[in-house]
């Protein structure tokens, strides 16, 4: 580290963004070849937080693996455990009582709103506006308190069980959730006025970071990233699971393909999640939360099972290959941000670094979920 640096005109230099960098929100490393402020080539480097969740899924019994699933995405953990219980229930043929299904949907949607809220705050912070984060966290806090009262944890929930739930919701929860909906709608209006309408924000996001629908298909991008590029795909609508067919909700799709479109998709999704929660609370039936008949040891018959769910970040798939034993023979997770992130290398070429990091923020990356 001594001696002068000689950079010739036209020569590029390598900039390591990460693994410790404020913009990567975790231990993602991006090797950027820079020409001044412009990115010539970028390469995302993974593996800094790899924990072998898939192998753990093969070494443990199905219930033992359940808590692992909520360690993938610490912001929207409910959706991931939902995927796992649905997959195992499908494999083992376990019936789920209706009340449990409704509670699950409500919980997943609440968690989705919490996750999007945090993304919103962190994204605007990436753009240099610090205050919306505090407002978003205040609203998110309300959700986390509600979920904590029922599930016992604030981030890494292990609330769903094969066949039902760990704990029934009480009147307090229902009342709190009902009170939350108008409050959140008011907040969304506030965010719209404070942030979405801001000239600087519009200037920074409009026509920046184009990701075409074709590119989304090539990389397998899903969720808000794909819906911001005009792909009308939502697992809840296209391959309905649980009680989602019972709900009346829209899938927000924007065709602009820029960062602003992805931003708007998520903001609209919060509103749609509130609609689902509202209907779920209205329709919430009485009854048990666990099935009467349930095998003590879960041993799905030999076969190949797949279940996809729509999490806050996109479609999350679980493939379980069973040989009839207590453990899965093969346990494969298809995590949405893994595909979404790989877009970045191609999409950011030729962009300026600040636009590229805005694009990265709009992908909503959660690194433990990419690395698993």
């Amino acid at each position: 580290m001594s001696g002068p640096i000689h950079i010739q005109p036209g020569e590029t230099f390598t900039l390591n963004v990460g693994p410790q960098h404020p913009a990567t929100h975790g231990v993602l490393r991006v090797k950027m070849e820079m020409d001044g402020e412009y990115i010539v080539k970028a390469e995302t480097v993974l593996g800094y937080i790899h924990r072998m969740h898939e192998l753990m899924g093969e070494n443990r019994t199905y219930p033992q693996v359940l808590p692992n699933l909520s360690r993938l995405d610490y912001l929207g953990a409910m959706g991931y455990t939902h995927g796992h219980v649905l997959a195992v229930e499908r494999a083992a043929g376990i019936e789920v009582p209706e009340r449990a299904e409704y509670v699950r949907a409500i919980m997943v949607e609440l968690n989705r709103v919490a996750s999007h809220l945090f993304w919103f705050g962190a994204f605007v912070m990436d753009l240099g506006g610090f205050t919306p984060l505090m407002y978003a966290i205040e609203d998110r806090e309300y959700i986390l308190d509600m979920l904590e009262a029922v599930t016992g944890s604030r981030l890494t929930y292990c609330y769903f069980r094969f066949g039902g739930l760990y704990n029934d919701v009480d009147d307090d929860f229902v009342n709190a959730a009902r009170a939350f909906i108008p409050r959140m709608r008011k907040s969304l209006k506030k965010y719209d006025a404070l942030v979405t309408g801001n000239v600087i924000l519009q200037q920074r996001l409009r026509d920046i970071g184009p990701i075409s629908a074709n590119m989304c298909r090539r990389y397998g991008a899903t969720g808000p990233v794909a819906r911001g590029s005009g792909i009308d795909f939502d697992v809840r609508k296209n391959e309905p699971y649980s009680v989602y067919p019972e709900f009346d909700f829209d899938v927000p799709v924007y065709h602009e393909c820029d960062s602003l479109a992805r931003y708007k998709v998520r903001m609209d999704e919060m509103e749609q999640s509130l609609r689902i929660i509202e209907q779920g609370l209205d329709k919430l039936p009485e009854g048990p939360i666990m099935p009467k008949k349930k095998p003590k040891i879960i041993k799905p018959p030999a076969g190949d099972y797949y279940q996809a769910v729509e999490t806050a970040r996109g479609s999350f798939g679980i493939r379980i290959v069973s040989d009839g034993g207590k453990n899965a023979y093969r346990f494969k997770l298809r995590s949405p941000t893994y595909s979404n992130m790989h877009l970045f290398d191609e999409a950011c070429e030729g962009m300026m670094i600040m636009d590229a990091l805005a694009l990265m923020g709009s992908l909503d990356l959660v690194i433990p979920e990419i690395d698993r």
Partner: protein
């Protein structure tokens, strides 16, 4: 002779004291203000209302080790933070707080302040270059291009004012605005004997205000220390008092920027309605109201892009301020 020397010493000590106290307590004010805006208390543990937080922070920074990164240009690395603070303090010398409280009222006060303000850009350049950090170099390149492009509209606006008042002496500029709010340079109507109607002055004020935001590297123009992409920008490698001086320099520059805006546009020490004789209180009230606006803006808006920033300066602010200059020249010729 000894009396003038004494005067100089008193002036310098007062300027340093004022700059240091302002810098320290504006940090506190900013953090409290940000807290209010973000619905949290802000620093409130050390002393009443957290008022002992700045001395505690200062003590912490002073007792820390100053680490010079390997491969850094030692001389430039050490000079840069000093260079950030010195021009800011020097500028206080010529700022008239009231008819009596001014260290050295020069007839080229405006020129001197801008000469020192340009040195501030130098410190950022040296800091980024000297610390041998890629983020630092990128940030300093940004900051320098920003400083250059915002000095131009700022100076053109000041030239308009100088043409209006016919002097570069800050004291005279303030005196020309005596009498009440309608005599301020901010407003188009001048009810003096030489009746001048300048319709574009509010826009000039806006241009000047935006430029002083950009000159002091404040959000939404804080591209030099864009923490979400350049980690901490030009002061990434600075710890201890090196960082402290940059930090204090920033706040001292804010005070200078606000004071200059008050002097040039908002009637300096004069009472808004002309009811009371002008004194330093009015000056400080106006300055701190402007500084509060600085803080308010910082915690409301996201950051602009570097090209958005340059476009704003070269495509919007400079043409408008040039047009305003032309208009003022025409008015002077006609009346």
């Amino acid at each position: 002779m000894s009396l003038t020397l004494l005067n100089v010493i008193i002036a310098v000590v007062c300027a340093i004291g004022f700059a240091a106290i302002n810098a320290a307590y504006l940090v506190w004010a900013e953090r409290r203000g940000a807290g209010r805006i973000q619905r949290r208390p802000g620093p409130n543990v050390n002393g009443p209302l957290g008022l002992l937080q700045p001395p505690a922070d200062g003590l912490k920074l002073m007792t820390k080790q100053l680490i010079i990164p390997g491969g850094a240009d030692k001389a430039l690395f050490m000079v840069a933070p000093v260079l950030a603070m010195v021009p800011a303090i020097m500028s206080f010398v010529t700022i008239p707080f009231s008819p009596l409280i001014v260290a050295n009222s020069m007839n080229i006060g405006v020129l001197m302040i801008f000469a020192f303000a340009s040195l501030g850009g130098m410190s950022i350049l040296l800091a980024g270059w000297g610390s041998r950090n890629k983020y630092g170099v990128m940030a300093s390149v940004r900051a320098v291009s920003q400083a250059i492009s915002y000095e131009v509209p700022m100076l053109i606006t000041v030239i308009t004012i100088v043409m209006m008042t016919g002097t570069m002496d800050l004291k005279e500029i303030v005196n020309a605005q005596a009498g009440g709010i309608w005599n301020w340079n901010l407003f188009p109507v001048h009810l003096k004997d030489d009746f001048v109607l300048q319709p574009l002055m509010p826009i000039s004020f806006l241009i000047f205000f935006i430029c002083s935001l950009a000159e002091t590297n404040r959000a939404p123009f804080d591209l030099g220390e864009a923490e979400s992409e350049l980690v901490a920008g030009f002061h990434t490698e600075y710890g201890s008092m090196g960082f402290g001086l940059f930090f204090m320099g920033e706040y001292a520059n804010i005070v200078i920027g606000a004071s200059l805006t008050v002097i040039l546009f908002l009637g300096g020490w004069h009472c808004p309605l002309g009811l009371l004789p002008g004194n330093v209180g009015f000056f400080l009230i106006k300055v701190y109201m402007l500084i509060f606006t600085f803080i308010w803006i910082r915690w409301t808006f996201p950051r602009t892009t570097i090209y958005g920033l340059l476009n704003l300066s070269w495509k919007i602010l400079i043409p408008i301020s040039l047009f305003n200059l032309l208009l003022q020249a025409g008015l002077l010729k006609v009346f």
